[in-house]
């Protein structure tokens, strides 16, 4: 087994551990921190079921963003939808036999790579051209888009310019999952692609990609509008019940 294979195997184990442990830690932090007051942005659903529907619309259609900015919505949605399909398509490298959903998106998956890139370029364009967005952007905001464009770009280059041995790639990833390492092909675009993906996984829990768990924990979106019907009390606030007074 080559040094290269060992390096990449260790890289992906490390990245996976950081991604999972980082996200678990963050989710744990969000989950244990109480929201002491009822602060849904109203009009809000009055039932739990309504809240689930609201979150569903936010996740799937980016409902609020649609109200806020049509261009961000368009590019953002294209990028995320493309990303979703591409990710599902990638599952064929991790499942044997290939999971039927991954097989299902096999054909449109290729175009979705372009859709995703189109969305990302649109977002980058907006970020660099609109004065308000330039003002609020840190270097990391540009770099995140560049990173994703580079991942998508290197992937498409493998597909259309310099093909790699995808059977060997699949064997490598299945091997990683079974702790039975298999050799990784030493193709430049593949290695670039994989390094960038590992970088993304490592960055995930320390960056704004925390918008993914964040959305589900956002009190303005995940609370039901029922404060008159139900007394909402965080543990630290409940303690104050015993000592509260009306002043002098």
């Amino acid at each position: 087994m080559s040094v290269l294979t060992a390096i990449f195997a260790l890289l992906f184990y490390t990245a996976t551990v950081i991604l999972v442990a980082g996200l678990v830690a963050k989710i744990h932090q969000y989950a244990r921190t109480p929201a002491p007051l009822k602060i849904p942005t109203t009009p809000a659903p009055t039932t739990r079921g309504g809240v689930v529907a609201r979150l569903f619309r936010e996740v799937v259609f980016f409902e609020s963003l649609f109200k806020g900015s049509k261009w961000s919505w368009l590019f953002g949605w294209l990028f995320h939808f493309g990303l979703l399909i591409v990710l599902i398509r990638h599952l064929r490298y991790f499942t044997e036999p290939i999971w039927f959903v991954a097989a299902l998106v096999q054909d449109i998956g290729v175009y979705m790579g372009f859709v995703m890139l189109l969305g990302l370029l649109g977002l980058l364009g907006r970020r660099s051209l609109v004065d308000r967005l330039r003002y609020i952007s840190a270097p990391s905001d540009y770099l995140m888009l560049v990173l994703l464009i580079a991942i998508g770009g290197s992937g498409l280059l493998m597909k259309y310019v310099s093909r790699t041995d995808i059977v060997a790639v699949k064997a490598f990833f299945l091997g990683l999952m079974r702790f039975d390492w298999q050799p990784l092909p030493a193709d430049a675009f593949l290695l670039i692609h994989l390094v960038l993906v590992a970088a993304l996984m490592i960055i995930f829990p320390f960056s704004k990609l925390l918008h993914v768990p964040g959305l589900f924990f956002s009190p303005t979106r995940n609370q039901a509008d029922d404060p008159r019907e139900r007394r909402h009390l965080a543990p630290w606030a409940a303690k104050l019940d015993a000592t509260r007074t009306a002043g002098n």
């Binding site: 007051l37 659903p45 970020r127 979106r221 007394r231």
Partner: protein, 500 residues
């Protein structure tokens, strides 16, 4: 220093609103008067800037990150998509980029990142993290007092990030290192001591209400009562103290009295809880907000009422509707057949539904009326039993009492409503420039319906909105009398007739 009237240019209203190009530091001179020790200490805050302010501020931030989930989630989740950047009336009116909601959040976020995140600890430049410095504190003080906590930005944010929460956290940290805002803290101290924002003691209040009774008697020759501290009344009414004397607020209070009278429901005001407003929310301080609200629980128990009704006030309704049950509940001593608390508009609407009130709409025929949705009612609370009742019910009251009603443009009403420019503890003359400029989006929408539909009056259900519009309308060549209370129009059209 606040600038005097002549020292700033009044914005020109345009027909088609534009998003201004950023003008850095355009409002860097705007900051409110700092609280003196006598305004700070009664609230439990240090009187002046503490020596170890940096350490204290970071400790407080850390503590709050563990107590309010909104903070870590909002500070982590923002993707800088920019959807909120053109949604704040203060940005639209001043073009100062730090008045873009996300930039306002970033003032806190960049410090959060530096001290509380891995990325900011090791790669501060990359993620825009900075040390907590005097300059940062200065910016917090300025720009957390250029946010009216109106929540308009949170409507459009894909994660519902509510800049109001960040502003409240910023103010809470500042208060804890000794840099409070005079206007809000002085008022809260007054409520703790006397029971209302104005510092009106019981005799003055009794006097005012007597005067009102005489005035109404003279006007319509009906013996409408404005009772104070009446034990055993059915309803305790808590209303913003501005209703006791300010124009046009007091006409709203007259209207509530007429509704109670016509419905034959006994009611009372309380001299102990003579204030619905609760500025504790503005400074983001749970304990002070609870203490202010507790006066109302106390008064309701002492007077032995069965219901609590809240008068026309935006943030007061937010605190009452969304927070009271948490802060001063449970309300098991009140009549479970009615919502606790109930908004005066819900109360009146209920009576209309039951056919208990009759209106002569012609009484308001000299007016073409529009309605200003107050932020806190629209985006932070509800009326009635379905989402959006807070938009429908006040409009139903207006339609029941006026023949001519028109709405302003759809992107400026309901949950899209623009703040009056004076909410969130900014209704003070040391912030006049900000208030005048922040009113631009509402003024533009109003001017449009004046020009196109001949609107003569704008009704509101918030004491702060009413005071703010009275002050700023003249800057834009409109009459300050345009702004009226919803219950003034209701009261004027209500057929009083005989008692039943």
């Amino acid at each position: 220093m606040a600038k005097a009237k002549e020292e700033f240019a009044i914005p020109k209203l345009v027909d088609i609103p534009i998003i201004p190009a950023i003008a850095p530091d355009a409002m860097a001179h705007s900051k409110p008067f700092v609280a003196k020790p006598e305004h700070q200490e009664p609230l439990g805050f240090p009187g002046e800037l503490v020596d170890n302010w940096k350490e204290k501020a970071l400790d407080k931030m850390g503590e709050m990150l563990g107590k309010y989930r909104s903070l870590p989630v909002f500070l982590d989740a923002c993707v800088k998509c920019g959807a909120c950047t053109d949604k704040c009336h203060y940005y639209l009116g001043t073009a100062d980029p730090k008045n873009m909601p996300v930039a306002r959040q970033d003032l806190l976020r960049k410090v959060y990142r530096r001290y509380f995140t891995v990325a900011g600890k090791y790669f501060p430049k990359l993620v825009g993290a900075v040390e907590l410095s005097e300059e940062v504190i200065e910016d917090w003080y300025k720009y957390y007092h250029q946010c009216s906590e109106c929540r308009r930005c949170s409507v459009y944010c894909p994660y519902g990030i509510d800049t109001a929460e960040i502003t409240m956290a910023g103010r809470e940290i500042l208060d804890h290192i000794g840099i409070g805002q005079k206007y809000s803290n002085e008022i809260i101290a007054k409520v703790h001591k006397i029971g209302n924002n104005l510092g009106l003691p019981e005799p003055a209040l009794a006097n005012t209400l007597e005067g009102l009774e005489e005035e109404v008697q003279e006007d319509i020759e009906v013996d409408v009562k404005y009772p104070l501290d009446q034990e055993g009344a059915e309803v305790l009414l808590v209303t913003p103290s501005a209703d006791f004397f300010a124009e046009p607020h007091v006409d709203g209070l007259i209207g509530y009295g007429k509704v109670f009278h016509r419905a034959g429901i006994s009611w009372t005001l309380s001299s102990f809880a003579s204030e619905a407003a609760n500025f504790g929310i503005f400074i983001g301080n749970y304990e002070n907000m609870q203490k202010v609200a507790m006066r109302i629980r106390q008064a309701a128990l002492d007077l032995g009422v069965k219901r609590i009704v809240v008068g026309e006030c935006g943030h007061a309704w937010r605190v009452a509707y969304s927070f009271w049950n948490t802060l001063i509940g449970p309300f098991d001593f009140l009549d479970p057949n009615y919502p606790v608390p109930q908004h005066i508009c819900e109360f009146t609407y209920d009576l209309i539904q039951k056919g208990a009130l009759k209106f002569d709409k012609d009484a308001n025929d000299d007016k073409v009326v529009t309605f200003h949705d107050s932020c806190n009612v629209s985006r932070a609370s509800r009326m009635g039993d379905m989402p959006g009742g807070q938009f429908m019910i006040p409009r139903e009251l207006l339609r029941a009492s006026c023949n001519h009603y028109v709405d302003m443009a759809p992107d400026t009403i309901h949950e899209n409503t623009f703040c009056c420019g004076g909410g969130g503890g900014l209704l003070t003359d040391d912030l006049l420039e900000l208030r005048v400029k922040g009113a631009v989006p509402r003024m533009e929408a109003l001017k449009k319906v004046i020009d196109e539909d001949g609107v003569t009056h704008m009704a509101a259900i918030c004491a702060i909105c009413k005071s703010q519009f009275t002050k700023v309308l003249p800057y834009y060549g409109m009459s300050m009398d345009m702004i009226v209370s919803v219950h003034q129009l209701v009261g004027d059209a209500l057929v009083m007739g005989a008692e039943h």
